[in-house]
Symmetry: C3
Subunit: 128 residues, 3 copies
């Protein structure tokens, strides 16, 4: 029994960590084609999947960091996809900067903190 | 009714998100004149305002990230303003790095996590 | 009496801030010899110490950010040390990017969020 739930773990990280009412999602990147639009869309789709695994969704985003390989070139493209995806009534706090990422083909990395659903058990949680 | 309160939201982000006892503030920048000193002072003044909107203040800072456009040139200037502003008895954890920001004139971006006041209602909170 | 505990504070930051069940650790760097391997090992050893001061340990890591001065050169070296140190059954979420740090000799900075031990008092905590 533990009060911390880790999902989708590998030798380096867990994609999802749940503690109390807070859901942490690891930095999400994409190797999808289509430049910043394709990669942002794919990264956000992966985030939808991770949030679902954690029993929550994008209506419960708390805070987001976005790292772009080339902020001058890609800020507008990332924002266009973000605006399609994020819910107007549920915008998280956000901060965006330029940063070189772990592989040269990666244009964007997104780090999310979200809230569990209010009805969720507040005590220890078993791994499903 | 919701357990997440979002304030000062626009099409891209909320400036403030409150969840449980934690207050998230979006990355704060400034276009004030006066170089790193002017921008840091203005950004921290904005943060005072956001914390007040969230019913808390700088005595309850938890964790801060500071991104500087030019860390070699501006680390000392940012730190001087920070030292004037932050409370010696209430220093948050902090990490500072260099990062290019969303517009070329921006020299500093500050991301804050703070705690709500202990007396605050711990259950659902209505948007004021 | 306060519900926020700050440890190892200086004029700029606290190395450790504890709020509720969450432990924030300031960005940890190292000036140790030995390049990325030496610095990462030393930074992680310091983190072990900070977690111990907060009454927790690396089995309760939640989320980590790693900033590398030169990600192309040092990503593999950092990961090798990370793999030795982190517990396979307790991997946090993680995100790594390249960023220039506060002094030219610094190759890595690590920011950690962890959970307090489940048995810990959940109310106000006195500074030890």
């Amino acid at each position: 029994m533990t009060d911390i739930v880790r999902k989708d773990s590998n030798q380096r990280l867990s994609r999802i960590v749940i503690h109390g009412d807070t859901v942490y999602v690891a930095g999400v990147t994409s190797s999808a084609a289509g430049g910043i639009v394709g990669q942002t869309r794919d990264a956000l789709a992966k985030i939808d999947g991770y949030l679902a695994q954690a029993g929550t969704d994008k209506s419960r985003l708390l805070s987001v960091q976005i790292w772009l390989k080339d902020i001058d070139r890609d800020f507008a493209g990332m924002n266009a996809v973000w605006a399609e995806w994020a819910l107007p009534q549920a915008m998280p706090t956000r901060a965006t900067c330029e940063a070189r990422l772990a592989a040269p083909e990666l244009l964007v990395e997104i780090i999310v903190t979200a809230a569990r659903r209010p009805g969720a058990v507040s005590g220890p949680v078993s791994e499903s």
